[in-house]
């Protein structure tokens, strides 16, 4: 799987560092906990979906959103090892993600699914 790659022959760092920091990747110990938490959170999500008294309250949607945001974050942080990886990757991901999220919310406002009241 030889993807296109750099053919430059230098080995240096434009920012002045000679070699990049070695990333410490998490291992099975972390992974299994992450998997467990993900499973539990998913179970919780589905579970509250089936509590009619809860789905009717104002808390239902925010709770779901928070649960899924947590799942989202831990997958990104641990499985995609963004927590351990270069800062640059974090910028490449979090920047667009935030902008995209704002856009989504903006659109929901514009189409009247979210409302501001005075």
């Amino acid at each position: 799987m030889a993807a296109d790659h750099s053919h430059a022959t230098l080995s240096h760092d434009a920012e002045g560092n000679v070699s990049p920091p070695e990333h410490t990747h998490p291992d099975w110990g972390t992974y299994k906990w992450v998997a467990l938490i993900l499973t539990v959170l998913t179970a919780m999500e589905v579970w509250i979906y089936y509590i009619p008294s809860f789905t009717k309250t104002y808390l239902f949607v925010p709770t779901l959103l928070i649960l899924s945001a947590v799942k989202f974050t831990i997958v990104v942080m641990f499985y995609m090892h963004l927590k351990y990886d270069a800062k640059l990757f974090r910028a490449l991901f979090v920047g667009p993600l935030t902008l995209a999220a704002f856009t989504l919310v903006g659109l929901l406002f514009l189409f009247g699914h979210l409302k501001i009241s005075f």
Binding site: M1, S6, H25, E45, V46, F72, Y79
Partner: protein
């Protein structure tokens, strides 16, 4: 390309930088699809609908709420587990554990394929219940959103199978782990998108 220190200005691997930029871009791709789904939710004059039953005034036919939460919960779980298999495959390659890497790559691909199987089942049962891409706004936006996600999973499965094939043929050395890493990033991202879809499309009523 070697996985040691790639000769670049930042010391980061080119392909990895590119895949992260790609993932950033995909955020907007899926944000647009999800926005559309949410905008059109509740706008269809005709059913069937995701969470409510609907009686066709013309024929009197009753359509039940179409989403099948138990089945999708299982497929969601399958996809989450595939992510676990994926990280294990990557760490096996990093350790130079040839045997495990093949097992975990294969497991990831199989779990991904299982997810696709669930989706195929879901789609066909919806069609049987009278929901197609033509039926209404919900049908169009639902099938296209989840369909595009499914297409990403399909591409991922093919990618995984290619890696598996190479791994079986000649094996990845630890300094080739970057090849698996990049695929893993893609795979997890597809998983993460599903996390959002599962909540926004399936659970929120």
């Amino acid at each position: 390309m070697g996985g040691e220190h790639p000769p670049t200005s930042t010391g980061l691997n080119n392909t990895k930088v590119a895949i992260w930029a790609f993932i950033g871009s995909e955020c907007f791709f899926f944000a647009s699809l999800i926005s559309t789904y949410l905008i059109y939710r509740g706008r269809s004059p005709v059913g069937p609908f995701p969470h409510d039953a609907w009686t066709d005034p013309a024929t009197g036919h009753v359509f039940k709420a179409i989403l099948n939460i138990p089945v999708t919960s299982v497929s969601t779980f399958v996809l989450l587990m595939s992510s676990l298999a994926m990280v294990l495959a990557h760490s096996a390659v990093v350790r130079g554990d040839r045997r495990s890497s093949k097992i975990w790559l294969a497991s990831t691909a199989i779990l991904g394929a299982t997810f696709l199987g669930f989706q195929a089942y879901e789609f066909t049962s919806f069609v049987h219940e009278g929901l197609t891409i033509h039926t209404n706004l919900f049908g169009s936006s639902f099938f296209i959103l989840t369909g595009f996600h499914g297409a990403h999973v399909t591409a991922g499965v093919i990618w995984l199978l290619t890696l598996l094939f190479i791994d079986i043929k000649r094996g990845f050395s630890p300094d080739e782990a970057i090849n698996v890493d990049v695929c893993a990033l893609y795979w997890h991202f597809v998983d993460v998108v599903w996390i959002a879809i599962f909540t926004l499309v399936y659970l929120i009523k």
